[in-house]
């Protein structure tokens, strides 16, 4: 089932995508699937343990389910030092 998802890209992901965010239709069940579907955008080959995701301004796991209307934030690895 198609859901309306708003995606926001940060830092390197934003530079790769050339946009800071977009709203799209997706049948992805979880955050990992969405990340995979959007790899042509954010430029990362796979959901790495070092990348993070937030859903509706809460940190989330990659296997978190997605619902219609969710705002998904895709975070490349943080600087860490």
């Amino acid at each position: 089932m198609k859901k309306k998802i708003t995606v926001r890209y940060f830092a390197l992901f934003r530079e790769h995508a050339g946009i800071s965010g977009e709203t799209l239709e997706s049948d992805a069940d979880d955050a990992a699937s969405l990340f995979e579907q959007l790899k042509h955008r954010h430029g990362s080959a796979e959901p790495s343990a070092h990348c993070k995701v937030a859903i509706n301004d809460e940190m989330a796991d990659w296997d978190s389910p997605l619902s219609d209307g969710d705002v998904v934030l895709l975070f490349p690895p943080v600087a860490g030092g």
């Binding site: 940060f10 830092a11 530079e15 790769h16 990362s44 809460e58 490349p76 943080v78 600087a79």
Partner: protein, 157 residues
């Protein structure tokens, strides 16, 4: 509390906000912009942050420190935007009755802030080049996405 700011961090004012006649120990940490990284000559840094989650996650970290150690106050402030060499990017201050707790909680907070807050830094080098720090751990491989690389860190100029 966790605070984000685009303005210079005034640690002298921040420490005043922690003063408490019951406090016997004040441990603090500051991260300063240094002029080199991985052998490269750094001219300035840009911090991109997602402030709402920085504040909520940072506040969670500080609450964890309070739960774990008997401390009086703990605060953290992080900069965003463009920073010059020598500027303070992050400050953590913790007070307690005795010093063990202040040291341990201060260390915990900065360690967690560094790995959990959505903050990214882009280094600008002496030769005009730039690169996102640590992004190579992400799994973004050269050639899989159609942008220019400088070959140094696998990232865009």
């Amino acid at each position: 509390m966790m605070h984000m700011t685009e303005r210079p961090i005034r640690t002298d004012e921040l420490v005043d906000s922690l003063r408490n006649p019951a406090a016997g120990a004040y441990a603090s940490f500051e991260g300063w912009i240094r002029n080199h990284n991985d052998g490269l000559d750094v001219k300035r840094l840009e911090y991109e942050v997602y402030a709402p989650l920085c504040v909520s996650e940072g506040t969670k970290i500080i609450e964890e420190a309070h739960a774990r150690w008997s401390i009086l106050h703990a605060e953290c402030v992080h900069r965003s935007g463009s920073l010059e060499i020598g500027e303070c990017a992050v400050w953590v201050g913790v007070t307690s009755v005795h010093r063990d707790e202040a040291f341990d909680a201060c260390r915990y907070i900065i360690d967690q802030v560094k790995v959990r807050l959505p903050i990214w830094k882009k280094e600008h080098y002496a030769d005009g080049d730039s690169g996102w720090v640590n992004c190579e751990r992400c799994g973004a491989h050269d050639g899989e996405h159609g942008h220019q690389h400088d070959g140094r860190k696998g990232h865009a100029r």
